[in-house]
Symmetry: C2
Subunit: 449 residues, 2 copies
């Protein structure tokens, strides 16, 4: 019944593989694009990720707000690379790197490399308040998105079961920390959920009365856009009924409230989009990092100590025109392709080539339904045209015919019906963990009789 694939036996065990070994850590936009660009190279590639799927992060907020299903924006890494025969995909967690011995340690095996590409991304940063993470989840993985979806949907359920107006108000207060693109898109999506999707679903509370706060420590929102567009976004948010607070750092937060600028606001739903820090790659490589943990790479994206170790994407601090490049998918993708090319040039005995140069095409963000802001090399497109551009770009960038079709269909369906198809609360334990009978039996009984 069982047999080992014979071609593989020949290739791996019966003769020594002489091809240089490229190990890629992380299959996000940086790592995956590097692997794909090495498709035809005479190398052996091992790509290691702690998840089995590549995640299309720009749409993760739509999973968190029940518009899309996790599987719509996640594709198995194996599946993407299934026809790329020089590549092995490994599901494992990297625990350390030894750049002297050229080894990558994982919780499963140890891998020796000739070239190493570190593309391990970023994690949330709570500015010295790690204890806030428990109460204010952020949005990095499918699990995070499911947690936020659960928290948001359960808040409406809990409000429906309360009778005390103060408690209802707290359950229907949603606070987003950080007014960058993710915070803005999430605020818009929650507003649509409350004001349109859930309108007829409850009997005791009105979801339209939900209070949505977008809180930003800096003097304005959307720092990556020019001020006139940020102002437009601010107005569009206010039109959706979202309270925008600028110059408002978080003083404190816990399970029942958030304190902003001295004011304590009762809430059970705080979502963190305020900042990220790089993965611990800098410590593994024993090389210099900036205060956000990003590795200070050369202009060839290698580390100063080892020219065969590349660091890309959110893990690297790459300077261009005197500023570090932002943590965006296109940056990571271009870096991945640059590094793949550099390795191929070196294998051909050539110079590494020119230093990396990022070509910026534009920034885009949506503010609720049918309102987009696009900044395309100075050309600013706002409103419905901006939203269409955002939509086309995101569908185009998604991987695979299936995901594109499913996302497009669900957006069309949501657009015309105001519904959101993924309102699923799956892990109910905490939802049901607070027995709260409160002697309502008699009261209710009398009322119903």
């Amino acid at each position: 019944m069982w047999k080992q694939r014979s071609t593989h036996n020949t290739e791996e065990n019966k003769q020594v593989d002489q091809r240089p070994h490229v190990v890629i850590i992380g299959a996000g936009f940086g790592g995956l694009w590097a692997a794909k660009a090495l498709k035809d190279a005479a190398v052996k590639i091992t790509i290691i990720d702690q998840h089995n799927h590549h995640l299309f992060q720009p749409l993760l907020y739509q999973v968190a707000t029940a518009a899309l299903s996790p599987t719509d924006i996640a594709t198995p890494i194996r599946h993407i690379l299934r026809h790329q025969k020089n590549t092995t995909v490994i599901l494992a967690e990297v625990t350390n790197i030894d750049p002297i011995q050229q080894l990558v340690f994982t919780n499963r095996q140890v891998y020796a490399y000739d070239y190493l590409i570190v593309a391990t991304g970023a994690q949330l940063r709570y500015g010295g308040h790690d204890e806030w993470e428990e109460h204010a989840p952020g949005l990095k993985s499918i699990t995070d998105a499911a947690t936020i979806r659960r928290k948001v949907l359960l808040a409406f359920e809990k409000a429906e079961m309360e009778t005390d107006p103060e408690k209802i108000r707290a359950w229907l207060t949603f606070v987003l920390v950080g007014a960058g693109p993710t915070g803005i898109e999430m605020a818009g999506a929650i507003a649509e959920l409350a004001q349109r999707t859930l309108t007829h679903d409850f009997r005791h509370t009105d979801p339209r009365s939900a209070r949505i706060l977008l809180v930003e420590a800096m003097p304005r929102i959307l720092l990556s856009f020019p001020p006139p567009q940020a102002k437009k976004a601010h107005q569009a948010l206010q039109k959706l009924g979202i309270e925008v607070r600028i110059n408002a750092p978080i003083d404190h937060l816990d399970a029942n409230s958030v304190t902003i600028d001295g004011e304590r606001i009762p809430t059970h739903t705080v979502i963190w989009t305020a900042g990220v820090t790089a993965s611990p790659a800098g410590a593994w490589l024993q090389t210099e990092t900036d205060r956000f943990g990003r590795v200070l790479v050369e202009n060839t994206l290698t580390i100063p100590e080892h020219s065969n170790v590349f660091v890309i994407g959110d893990t690297a601090r790459v300077m261009q025109d005197g500023k570090p490049l932002p943590g965006l998918a296109p940056v990571a993708m271009q870096e991945g392709e640059y590094v793949a090319n550099a390795i191929m040039l070196r294998l051909g005995g050539l110079d590494t080539g020119d230093p990396f140069h990022y070509i910026h095409h534009g920034n885009m963000v949506t503010v609720g339904r049918a309102y987009g802001l696009v900044n395309f090399g100075g050309l600013q497109i706002n409103g419905l045209p901006g939203w269409w551009l955002w939509l086309v770009t995101h569908i185009y960038t998604l991987i695979g015919f299936r995901n594109r079709t499913l996302v497009l269909f669900q957006w069309a369906w949501s657009y015309f019906t105001y519904q959101r198809g993924s309102r699923l609360i799956t892990d109910e334990e905490p939802a049901l963990s607070e027995p709260d009978v409160r002697g309502h039996a008699t009261q209710r009984r009398n009322k119903y009789r």
Copy 2:
């Protein structure tokens, strides 16, 4: 910012609601169909479920085998009933019933009823071996389906990381306990996954070498079908490379093996579809049950002690033609509608009407790709026509345009590409919990150099 819906204030607090109160426990096929049939009745309905969604159980095995996404077959109960103004949906867990005082106790509140409909379904039964549940999950909820999906997909990942042929063989052995429709459909789906979907995805192991066992304690498979059809199903399974074992009760099972009829088979993936037992409703109601925990109801679906308490669906044992009715969705749906009608007749001062009579339309099952077996009142339709009939019936029965479209699209896509779009491993903790370095460093290093 926050206000309570004013119409509701008037309706609930300012005047006493005189309408009789119907409490429905469970929003599966029985409870939901009862609620929908009471749409225009002059009653106040409270439907309580521990999940926020109604689940289309007949397709749950497709979620467990990565063909569909959980949200494709789950619809929020609130959403289904959003325009039914006489109905309140409560997300809570029932803990007890007091049929004398006419109260339902939940972990949140206590509800007083005039009429009670108990439709709490069934849970898995391990025949006195509750300790097997940990190692052999069954398929009842979305969480179960996600657990099985994770187990199945991870087994292929683990096999890929092993080098010991015995260990690889154990990871690639899948055992399904119980050869009813669920066991057969799941076996077919795993066979397709291994033989078609994953073919190009691995480098060290061949998913096609997976061993799939379907184990049945009874002398034949598919007891709900006539013997000639069961024989056809048996042959179709064997054609898919599935080993079918009849007269083979499970002697023992643990995390690393299953012992069938004295033979120990190493495996880490056992799925239980062998039997169900009713929910604890019988104990709550202090009424008589059969050995599977099903409440022995009258032919009017009430319990002998209380004529205002109805028990339906998998929770009830309803005798017809000297045999108990099977635990099928159509039985529950017809019972739900019958009970709703009985309540409306009684409210009109009329007799409860005729005793319940189930009208059986047919049984259907699929065996892998494009092979279906349908028994439609004695008329047997097998093969591709049977599969088409199965497909049309299931699409038709799904709730909502969105779900129908999404499921149909994904089936078409899977049919033509052999792919499965929901290959998502989400909760990776256990996957990464076994550090297993095993000194491969040097070995690997030498190989790669």
